[in-house]
Symmetry: C2
């Protein structure tokens, strides 16, 4: 974006199984297809190599985590280089025994590491026991500089927090990128499911609007069972999408596997920010209570 006015971005949406190697092979095939479509930037869903293991709290799942850099991250570095794309991955990072993160790693077209982001907001919800697995990130909200622009990479639960999007925009992010793994409780009503999906799309589009930046979202799809058999599993709802800096929907998919590309135009964001200069008018003199938990 800094260097090219037009940027072709590919969003990968896929389902995951318990077979980590098969997931990797699927991801590799998707990245190859995205590159063939001409994408310069490819975004994968959250934790794309793993079943969504957070459905249950099991210490054995820590075996899935790997150091970064490590064997797994090297495979993705090679994949980025082989396909000549900037690649946004989402890995289970082992930082030390008993210290793990949900970490997005961005690889440059030549396979070097552009940067990484450790998921800052960690959910905990029946079927999404992430606080058990992931230590909250300690790298803050720093965009990752790449050859295709400064990427504000955030992960899943972060998407509900306007603060995260704003901090990335204030630090110069040119695109907000959300790898995510979100789905329905099969026991919820049709109406509740519709409200949740609509809220998820709406809140992310609002980050585009409030900050004058495009937003790119990659989700997983498919049903995954709860290995502990206590819950009904999760129907990951797909619906990966991209919107422009006014929140205008550019493309959205359904809940089947998909690889699709959109073209972002860097000059569009500047045009939108000129007519809606929200960054000009923020009342930073009156925002200090944002640093409080609650004003009681």
């Amino acid at each position: 974006m800094s260097h090219n006015k037009q940027l072709k971005v590919s969003i990968v949406q896929h389902s995951c199984t318990a077979d980590v190697d098969a997931n990797f092979a699927l991801v590799e095939s998707c990245v190859q297809q995205a590159a063939k479509q001409g994408a310069e930037l490819v975004v994968l869903p959250e934790l794309h190599d793993y079943p969504y293991f957070c459905q249950t709290e099991d210490v054995n799942n820590f075996d899935l985590a790997e150091p970064i850099p490590g064997e797994k991250s090297q495979l993705y570095a090679d994949m980025a280089a082989e396909n000549d794309v900037v690649l946004v991955t989402s890995l289970f990072e082992k930082r030390a025994p008993g210290l793990y993160h949900n970490t997005a790693v961005v690889f440059e077209k030549d396979g070097t590491t552009a940067g990484h982001y450790r998921k800052m907001h960690i959910p905990d919800d029946p079927g999404f026991y992430e606080k058990f697995y992931f230590t909250p990130g300690d790298l803050g909200f720093e965009p990752i500089e790449t050859s295709v622009g400064k990427l504000g990479v955030l992960v899943c639960w972060d998407q509900w927090f306007p603060e995260a999007a704003r901090l990335m925009a204030l630090a110069g992010a040119e695109i907000l990128v959300y790898p995510t793994a979100i789905g329905w409780d099969p026991n919820d009503t049709k109406e509740e499911k519709a409200r949740q999906l609509d809220a998820w799309i709406t809140v992310q589009r609002s980050h585009a609007i409030a900050n004058g930046v495009p937003v790119v979202v990659a989700n997983r799809c498919g049903h995954e069972t709860d290995a502990s058999q206590h819950l009904a599993g999760i129907d990951f709802w797909g619906n990966s999408f991209a919107c422009g800096p006014q929140g205008e929907m550019l493309q959205q998919t359904k809940n089947q596997p998909a690889i699709f590309s959109i073209t972002l135009d860097h000059s569009r964001a500047e045009k939108v920010r000129r007519i809606w200069p929200f960054l000009r008018d923020r009342r930073i003199d009156s925002y200090s209570d944002l640093l409080r938990r609650y004003k009681d």
Copy 2:
């Protein structure tokens, strides 16, 4: 809301003319109708008594402003009492010669003043020269306690700032209320108009979602000319609406005058916050850069 589980809210959408007394008479008639519909809370559009004078910079328009409390605010206090409603008004406040605010005043059912809010974020845009007229508010983001609940009253341009909504929610606001005066430049394309309206709805629904509170929006409608004849005037786009705490649309009107009521259920917001406890997971340890203009 603190005291009654169900709350009937009426939203008034009307057009304005250069005749301030006629505008007042129209507003009075609307409030009477809203009260007859059984509303306990009535929300008026921004600056409902005046033509949208900010289309041009003219010092004579300061004649429209009045002290608060003053004759004008007393008329609205009486109107609230006569109709037995909590009334959210939007007035042009003269605080001192050369010092004016865009001020929302909330009256209790007995005509006492529940509180007021001075618009914090002030736009300035061709046709919306508000920085000329309105000194930015200095009362912060404090909800107004009323007999129908704590109201997070914000005004128009505030609606684009997630910080404003969040601060109101953190201070205990149970409903976000936006009197507003927003419209189209008649010279914009149909597509641009559609994007602007959609963005405006989306960003306000996102405040409901991010904070787990209902949102109530009252806009004006109708075309108003630019008194200085430099611009094409403004087509105020109406589309006043209310949504629930998951962002779910409760009711939305078109761009004709309208008085409509929705019922808010206090218990609904708590249910939504229990499944989506965003306030639990905010990374207040990492938000300090929100107090900066930009991170260069």
